[in-house]
Amino acid sequence: MQKQAIFQSKLLPYALVAPQLAIVLIFFYWPALQAVIQSFLLQDAFGLSTSFVWFDNYVELFRDPAYFESILRTFFFSFAIAVSSLSFALLLAVMADKPLRGSTLYRTLLIWPYAVAPPVVGVLWIFMLHPSLGVISRYLRAAGIDWNPLLDGDQAASLIILAAAWKQISYNFLFFLAGLQAIPKSVLEAAAIDGARPMRRFWTVTFPLLSPTIFFLLVVNIVYAFFDTFGIIDTMTRGGPGKSTETLVYKVYSDGLLGGNLGSSAAQSVVLMIMVIVLTGIQFRFVERKVTY
């Protein structure tokens, strides 16, 4: 697609793209390139000499069981966050899609958590579920559960998933509601005339028609769980206890903080880069085509 009516100028267009181009080259491509180059190099212990080692850093990385666990953990977190947040948001959106009094008020009261920053989400949830002073922990302990997410890895993981899913409800709700409102009422009425009860109508008509939205949100939620959970994890558990809440992004961050292996840290960044490229690719390839109909 191209415009027919255009301006003629030799220098002006370059001047107009220059600021963005400069930012992109200096702060995006240059560091990304550095990461790729670093990932093929090995530095000696004193940082005096570097040598080209081909894929050694990658081989070492994938041989490290801790890294492998981190990959699995990240995928598990993504899956758990996406499924729990999507299903709850869908339930709410289906309810809010009905012609109810006060439906705009409901929408307002459900979408604002989108604006809460991940580290704040972390602070809010760790406070409620803090082992010694949390408001909810009291009831958990009264119910006989030995609740201590600061010591128990599984409990810490479930806490992260819970908090991350909570934040994402509003986003999913908003897009589900828009998707539901785009479904023509006539289709649902036709199904009703054919005698389909509400539950059946939902599963045979609404749900299939909603599949593009569901797929889109699935990808967005996975990307969210990969990257935006960093703030939640950092304020709640710092990747601990042990490494039970260390996702891939968190691992790049904390390995780098220790300042140890430059090559390994760079290789980790490159692996993440590839994952983002794949996810973005899926999003563009399939979301545009609207899945089924």
């Binding site: 697609m1 415009k3 009516a5 255009i6 301006f7 100028s9 267009p13 107009l16 793209v17 600021p19 963005q20 930012i23 992109v24 200096i26 702060f27 491509y29 240059w30 560091p31 990304a32 550095q34 670093q38 339930l91 709410l92 309810m95 809010a96 109810l100 307002t108 459900l110 979408i111 604006a115 809460v116 920053a117 991940p118 580290p119 704040v120 602070v123 809010l124 406070f127 409620m128 010694s132 002073l133 408001v135 909570w166 509003s170 009425e189 009703a192 509400p198 967005v220 960093f230 703030g231 304020t235 790049v252 780098g256 760079a266 960044s269 993440l272 880069m273 983002v276 490229i277 973005t280």
Partner: protein, 282 residues
């Protein structure tokens, strides 16, 4: 439809209120905690009703800060966050709109490669280039500065795409008309295109402001001085000290203050927010 009458409707109201309660509960607890006495909270005996320390706690939070390790008034952190969020939002919009203008309204060598260079940054979020970017910013002596906080995040493939899409829908007649009036490219941009883009810019601004205000990983890395901390980084540092020393009412007041501006924007500018969210995700 028939079944939507009566009992089903009550069920819907009921489920929605439960949803709202779940969504609001953590924030309610934060507000309540920020008005109570620290000793009570630390003993695990926090009440679920507001206490009497509202003014005292918020005054201390905004103007003094915690008495512990990071003695930085939260008011100052909020100012830093505000400057960063505004720089990011305005900067992204400004550089994106002019590059989209160049790409749509001019033919020049390397036009498409430049477009792709901008587009592909979608796949390079800050998380995948953390330390190399840090090093560049350090080499440019931009650690602990507003420029360092904002500049590396300011490129925007999404905004550029959005403006490009919008410009494509602007009728060609407008350009021809203003050309007949003797307007050059800059004049056309300023007098015709910019006013037409106002709603798009506003919707984008709402989203980008929230995005900027909520930045965490990047400010965490490049701010070392306490007086350059943003509120998101500051709140994390407040709970690093051993549990017994954490001043929970102040932490919770800070959480409330950190939520206030972006939530306010979402609620008050809901139409623009929804529009911006849907358009940036397309």
């Amino acid at each position: 439809m028939v079944e939507d009458e009566g009992i089903r409707r009550y069920v819907a109201h009921f489920i929605l209120w439960i949803g709202i309660a779940i969504v609001a509960f953590p924030v309610y607890i934060a507000i309540v905690a920020s008005t109570q006495d620290n000793a009570l909270i630390a003993n695990g005996q926090m009440s679920l009703l507001p206490g009497g320390h509202f003014f005292e706690t918020y005054y201390q939070t905004i103007f003094v800060g915690t008495s512990g390790s990071t003695r930085e008034p939260v008011g100052n952190m909020m100012l830093n966050s505000l400057v960063m969020a505004l720089l990011i939002a305005v900067g992204k919009i400004a550089i994106s709109i002019i590059s989209a203008y160049a790409i749509v309204y001019f033919r020049f060598p390397f036009r498409m490669p430049i477009f792709w260079l901008i587009f592909i940054t979608l796949m390079l979020p800050v998380e995948v280039r953390i330390y190399p970017t840090y090093k560049i910013v350090a080499d440019l002596h931009m650690l602990d500065s507003y420029a360092g906080l904002a500049l590396p995040l300011i490129a925007s493939a999404t905004a550029t795409l959005l403006f490009r899409q919008f410009f494509m829908t602007v009728p060609d007649e407008l350009l021809e008309a203003s050309r007949i009036d003797g307007a050059g490219p800059l004049r056309f941009f300023w007098d015709t295109l910019l006013p037409l883009s106002r709603t798009n810019m506003a919707a984008l601004f709402v989203i980008l402001f929230i995005l900027g205000w909520n930045q965490y990983l990047w400010p965490l890395l490049i701010t070392t001085r306490d007086d350059m901390q943003t509120i998101q980084v500051g709140i994390r540092k407040m709970i690093t000290t051993t549990d017994a020393l954490t001043e929970w009412p102040i932490v919770m007041a800070t959480a409330v203050l950190a939520m206030l501006p972006p939530v306010f924007v979402v609620v008050v500018m809901q139409k623009l927010f929804v529009r911006g969210l849907v358009e940036t995700e397309k």
